[in-house]
Symmetry: C2
Subunit: 618 residues, 2 copies
């Protein structure tokens, strides 16, 4: 499948604007870059996408949906690592005050220099290497490239300031005193982790299970361009699937075993060769160890199925594995579902194994256990270092403080206990800090020893496999992949949206004005409404050709036209958007044909479904 040409992209964007699929927000105020409004057809498409996502993931897997606030207190995001690590590197033009995101600036500049005829082969190879691995660069590495390649302001050619790190979260304050610092969430995931205990409880303590959230998240992009693909406020859908770290198999993996997916592995990327993904079944990929485990593989296959269902072109999709240093601070393996558009490959879905990172850090910070307690069928022996206090002396020596000291001792890790045991052996005593105070303990007060106990319960922090969707980006990719231009004299554009995604399913119109038509229109409307088919009446005073063109631009798959024959015999024409073919039948037959195609995926084929209707010659 070829990429869209520039003129096609212009045509696409102007169609999207003219039909109000979307528009820059606050446009009459000059707009704010990175913020967009969806208009009526855009909203309807987004609603359809959300509904299909819920059916494909939440309903099908009995996921537990959670809906939390975007306002998130500082502490939560400090713990999760976002305060320190959710940053981009940027540089400023000291003369104009303009800011640039460093990695994007480097990419843009090097891509331009590669087109230069005089570039020597070694330079070319170096620059290509940078471009394929830049996603994994640290700040100092980016700075080095900036210097080595003398990268200045792309507009003014001014020398830029050195790189600085910029946190991408929007900050605000909660409450009248202004003392509670908060951010707008950068992802919905944290809200799910914090509810882990409640989710586990309503799942009756059983694991694995998944939670899911659909909602807006925020990212204060440094200088957002490329329209809907890089925005500051975006709709996400995220799944957190909690699994036993010792068993990441998936009960339904055999159902997707043979799903064939284009995979661009880490090894392939690091080889520096031409970057063509390898087509492989997910079964093979997991078997060979390329994809880390079954659960990750299962979701990759399900994501693939989902994207093809909603109109993504199968030849413009790949899963790309993250490079080692590109992965988020929490991930152990990560595959990005990338979609090819006229802007290049766009990351739309991330499938990451976050391991036990989030639950561990939140549990540590809050002191609340976030674990699964599994009853063991056969109890297990466990040998470990323990500390025991001599109750008699301990209590009388420390009085009210005894309990607190005991609790501090009980929290020592195995390593800490070993160290204390050695001290005790060597010096006969050791010290520990309790509430800032140094407490001395000797062997008359405590014993540290190895002890073997029988464990009836296995307690563990689960791992998390996370498929995370940028729904806004996916919407843009649907536009890009479904936009087509008719090969005729007028070369008009239309959207070949799948039936389930199309904003409006049917438009109903009349060939001209006639006193008998309104009653027929009403009858058809009622019949469509009864079957819950979303339709629009196009009763404008334009030619039938213009009406067809307008509704094609909205991607409306079916058109019903009332004409003079309808008055005589209650027949209407039914037009299909992509082929522009028309058939004729009674109102009842036409509507039930549409109903069948819409509500039964097996019967969406036009030829089969309209078999009983009469073809119309145009």
């Amino acid at each position: 499948m070829p990429l869209m040409s520039n003129s096609e992209r212009d045509k696409l964007e102007s169609t999207l604007r003219r039909r109000f699929f979307y528009t820059p927000s606050f446009e009459i105020y000059g707009g704010v870059s990175g913020l967009f409004d969806l208009g009526p057809p855009g909203c309807q498409l987004q609603n359809n996408l959300i509904r299909l996502w819920r059916e494909h993931f939440i309903m099908e897997e009995n996921m537990l949906q959670v809906d939390g606030p975007m306002l998130t207190p500082y502490d939560v995001l400090k713990t999760s690592g976002h305060v320190d690590k959710f940053t981009d590197w940027m540089c400023r033009n000291p003369k104009t005050g303009e800011y640039y995101r460093a990695d994007h600036l480097i990419e843009q500049t090097l891509k331009k220099r590669l087109l230069d005829k005089d570039v020597n082969p070694q330079d070319m190879k170096n620059m290509e290497k940078i471009l394929t691995t830049i996603d994994g660069f640290s700040g100092p590495e980016l700075n080095l490239v900036m210097q080595e390649y003398n990268i200045n302001d792309p507009v003014t050619n001014d020398v830029l300031d050195a790189l600085t790190s910029f946190n991408l979260m929007f900050e605000t304050k909660i409450g009248a005193s202004g003392q509670l610092k908060a951010f707008l969430r950068p992802e919905t995931a944290q809200g799910q982790f914090l509810n882990f205990n409640k989710l586990l409880e309503i799942n009756q303590g059983k694991i694995p299970f998944a939670s899911a959230s659909i909602g807006k998240s925020f990212r204060n992009e440094i200088s957002p361009r490329s329209g809907l693909l890089r925005v500051r406020e975006f709709l996400m859908a995220e799944i957190e699937h909690f699994v036993d770290p010792l068993n990441k198999s998936h009960a339904k993996f055999n159902e997707v075993l043979n799903e064939e997916i284009p995979l661009l592995s880490r090894r392939l990327q690091e080889s520096g060769e031409v970057q063509l993904p390898v087509k492989m079944t997910i079964g093979e990929a997991v078997n060979s160890g390329m994809v880390e485990n079954e659960t990750l593989g299962y979701f990759m296959a399900r994501v693939h199925q989902f994207l093809l269902n909603i109109g993504i072109n199968k030849d413009k999709f790949r899963f790309r594995q993250h490079l080692k240093n590109e992965m988020a601070h929490y991930a152990t393996d990560c595959w990005d579902g990338e979609i090819l558009t006229s802007y290049g490959w766009i990351e739309c879905v991330g499938c990451a194994d976050r391991a036990a990172f989030d639950l561990t850090v939140h549990s540590k910070k809050t002191g609340r256990s976030l674990t699964v307690k599994q009853k063991l069928d056969t109890p297990k022996e466990r040998t470990e270092w323990v500390v025991e206090v001599n109750k008699k002396f301990f209590g009388s020596k420390f009085k009210q403080k005894a309990k607190l000291i005991e609790s501090v001792l009980s929290k020592f890790s195995q390593d800490e206990l070993i160290r204390r045991h050695e001290e005790l052996e060597k010096n006969g005593e050791f010290t520990c800090q309790v509430n800032g105070e140094i407490v001395k303990l000797d062997s008359s007060l405590v014993t540290i020893k190895m002890k073997t106990t029988l464990q009836h319960i296995r307690e563990y922090i689960p791992n998390v496999i996370e498929p995370s969707f940028g729904l806004g980006r996916i919407i843009y990719c649907i536009f890009d992949h479904c936009f087509q231009v008719r090969v005729d004299s007028e070369s008009r554009g239309f959207f070949s949206f799948p039936l389930q995604i199309a904003p409006i399913k049917v438009f109903v119109t009349t060939i001209s004005n006639n006193d008998s038509f309104p009653a027929i229109l009403k009858k058809i409307s009622q019949a469509l409404r009864k079957r819950e088919i979303y339709f629009k009446i196009d009763d404008s005073n334009t030619s039938i050709g213009k009406k067809y063109a307008r509704n094609d631009e909205l991607g409306t798959p079916f058109g019903i036209t009332i004409d003079f024959e309808t008055i005589k015999d209650q027949t209407v024409t039914l037009r299909e958007r992509n082929s522009m073919r028309q058939v004729r039948g009674t109102i009842t037959d036409v509507i039930s044909t549409i109903d069948k195609m819409l509500h039964n995926p097996d019967e969406s084929d036009w030829d089969k479904s309209t078999f009983g209707l009469s073809p119309v010659k145009i």
Copy 2:
């Protein structure tokens, strides 16, 4: 209908928490007041509510949905009046640093004092008057009451600081430079107004039409209490219906004419009498002028229908008209749809006539016309003051500045022209400011006169009727109104949600464990999924009674139980939640009975629908 007792409310809240309908956000971090998470059944209920709202309003009226960002630049909200007027009055305890919202503190204190046995009749009357009209009090008025009634900190009795005004918007900054000040939107309405021209265009220039948005809005409450009813981040659904200011009739008003609604008018409230609303048809209310116009009345009736459909008790609802000084700065008439809960009357839907306020101020600020151009069937004569320049002298005198001066003159209002005309008559000249410079004009350069022209187009700024829903509050009211306690020995609680609102429609369970049951479970699951009925399997190892109780607490209307007879004859029992009655039939008959009741509102009656099945004696 009696209000809930305190013990019932405790039972309600503990059920909501235990079943994870909702929970305080960030609970393991100690929580943030005014922020809540919805858990799985809460999300599902919210999804159902949104879907029903879209069907009842957007689909039924062909409204144009818009989805815009929450981040909103300063200028937009400065123009809309929110920077200056979206405030509450608060006072601070200088010793503890605690903040109180002044009106709530007064209400709370006076309500307590009214319970005092020694209060004299005149004081009582005064306090009651304050309580019924406090929503309209200005800051100084609140201050006066605080002083007159010696209102101190309710906990410590410390004297409080004088009132200050607090803006309720969350502030943040957009972009790397941090120079673009922004707020989280306090309502979705502004995003719709700013798109007026685009909406009008895709509606083919025709008016009236309505736009709608569903999304989160924010309000930095001073000290939020009362759980889900007063939150800092909330889901809204807002409709902006644009009408001709000279014609606020509604084409479908006759369809709702006889809808009977309890109305508490402004006059009734100001009378100081017992505040019982008057039941009246909306037809009468509009006819008598109590409700300002048909469109406002139409929406009030539609709101009323909607709320009763989703489970609000008709005897615990009223529309209360805003007092004159209580209305928002933009409104000309406003009725609050209020719902009675154990927390008192709660404002859940506002129906306001915002007149032309918003479009006017945004148009003025941006210089962009936000008007409707109506082609007149018969052109109209229009006589008005005009200014004409003497091109010959004017151009040679002012040179490059001529155009600018002419444009300033062309923007004079009728009043300004009359004033200038008088000056010109009296002094032979007048002055005007052009870019800060004073320009003198005499009668050789300009003429000001009355002129009659023929108008073919009428251009006007439309008025806006706005029904605005707090969906989060409505959800709490549904909980409150649907919670019931069985009159039996165990007095267990359950939710009598309407079928369309219930989070889960069917639970499927088995009487015990048996090797034949899983296959039957699978068969039933497939049949339910095919009919798009949302169900849960309850295969826990508990007694059937406990399973019923648990699913009653989730408000699941139907239960299918597989027992040993099922193996023999493929029959199952079907249980109804409210009556706990059971019938028996084949799997096919039971599922098609449920399907009928769920998808056809006319067939939701249990007795009629289960007529063909056999009653089970329990």
